[in-house]
Symmetry: C2
Subunit: 220 residues, 2 copies
């Protein structure tokens, strides 16, 4: 499938690399390709190992993808998606992996939007013709693409969004591609508040557990 | 042990009833005893079944308890604790079970405080001579006192607070009294932000799971 991964951080590299390894035609989107390649040695090194992944400006990557992942830093996601262009994203499924972390007051970060709104809702409002599905923001990049590395995959991925068919497409794809077994559909895109407000707990749990390679299982 | 349970809602009744059944000397604290008994038929009915539990004004209940639970509605907790009196709570361990839910804009509720502060921190600041331990706010009342009803008890209770000895006292007591097996210490009282910001996800999960009798297990 033609897939766009917007964002070049750890999560963007992990996700696009794993998708390319599965044979997908992946384009990574960034603000300024030349600047990225000349200044980000982590990315340059990664790119040498993933030559099949194209690196394009946000708009060209978005135009390429039939499925689009937003893995830009949450505080910069709206600007990145504006550059990607609503026309290039119209009619498509956008998986919003962003977390609106605010590091301006140090660690642990707060959220730039919370409680009565969320990044997922802001993105859906900014892109009314796009089917936004919030997913994968509640686990580390390494878990996103290899859920079996945690408890053999016996843990839950939360998803939400306004379009049921889009959610089913995303969960069935994550199952097929990465082996995700358990999903909890939390409802419409306003549940992005709940999924993003989980991040402070996720960060505390990472410290307590001693590794980002963990997840939670809902039990009853 | 002499225990005070501040709050007469479902969680307060469940907790104080379970503690009294274990043989503890429990006093339930409320703003106006007479008004409660004359207007709240749920409580009056419960009291007939739990005659060993005394019902006292907040201050008298707080003075009685060597251990104190705050299970008042989060939006009213600071006022309730002011009535309970800092002197009556000084030197004691206060388990803050409160969730600062804001129902003023309908369902699902937002939080009255979030992101850069929390109810747990507000309470600790208001009661500097009290050892505040945040716990039990992340599970339903029925799970609080009978964790084995969910997955045989194989799930996690999150705790935080500034005083390590107080946290150990609380977790060992919850283990002995109710059979809690697994705890995750999230750090100092500022982790109350994480524990309270989990509530929107808890509410979404309750809807998705179809019962409040659930919990989460941290897996790695």
């Amino acid at each position: 499938m033609d897939i766009a991964v917007l964002g070049t951080g750890m999560a963007g590299r992990t996700l696009s690399g794993a998708l390319a390894d599965l044979g997908h035609e992946v384009a990574v989107g960034t603000r300024d390709v030349e600047h990225l390649q000349q200044t980000n040695t982590d990315f340059a090194h990664w790119q040498q190992q993933h030559t099949a992944v194209r690196v394009l400006p946000f708009a060209d990557a978005a135009a390429h993808g039939l499925l689009v992942f937003n893995v830009t830093a949450g505080a910069a996601s709206l600007a990145a998606l504006e550059q990607a262009g609503a026309d290039n994203l119209a009619g498509k499924v956008l998986v919003d992996v962003g977390n609106p972390l605010d590091f301006s007051s140090g660690m642990p970060p707060a959220l730039t939007v919370a409680n009565t709104d969320s990044l997922g809702e802001q993105i859906q409002r900014a892109l009314p013709e796009t089917k936004v599905v919030k997913a994968l923001n509640t686990v580390n990049a390494g878990v996103m693409v290899a859920p079996a590395k945690v408890a053999g995959g016996d843990h839950d991925l939360f998803v939400c969004g306004n379009d049921n068919a889009a959610k089913t497409f995303v969960t069935s794809s994550l199952q097929e591609w990465f082996g995700w077994q358990r999903f909890v559909d939390l409802g419409d895109i306003s549940a992005a508040r709940a999924m993003e407000m989980y991040l402070p707990l996720w960060l505390r749990l990472m410290n307590a557990v001693g590794t980002p390679m963990f997840s939670v299982k809902v039990v009853r």
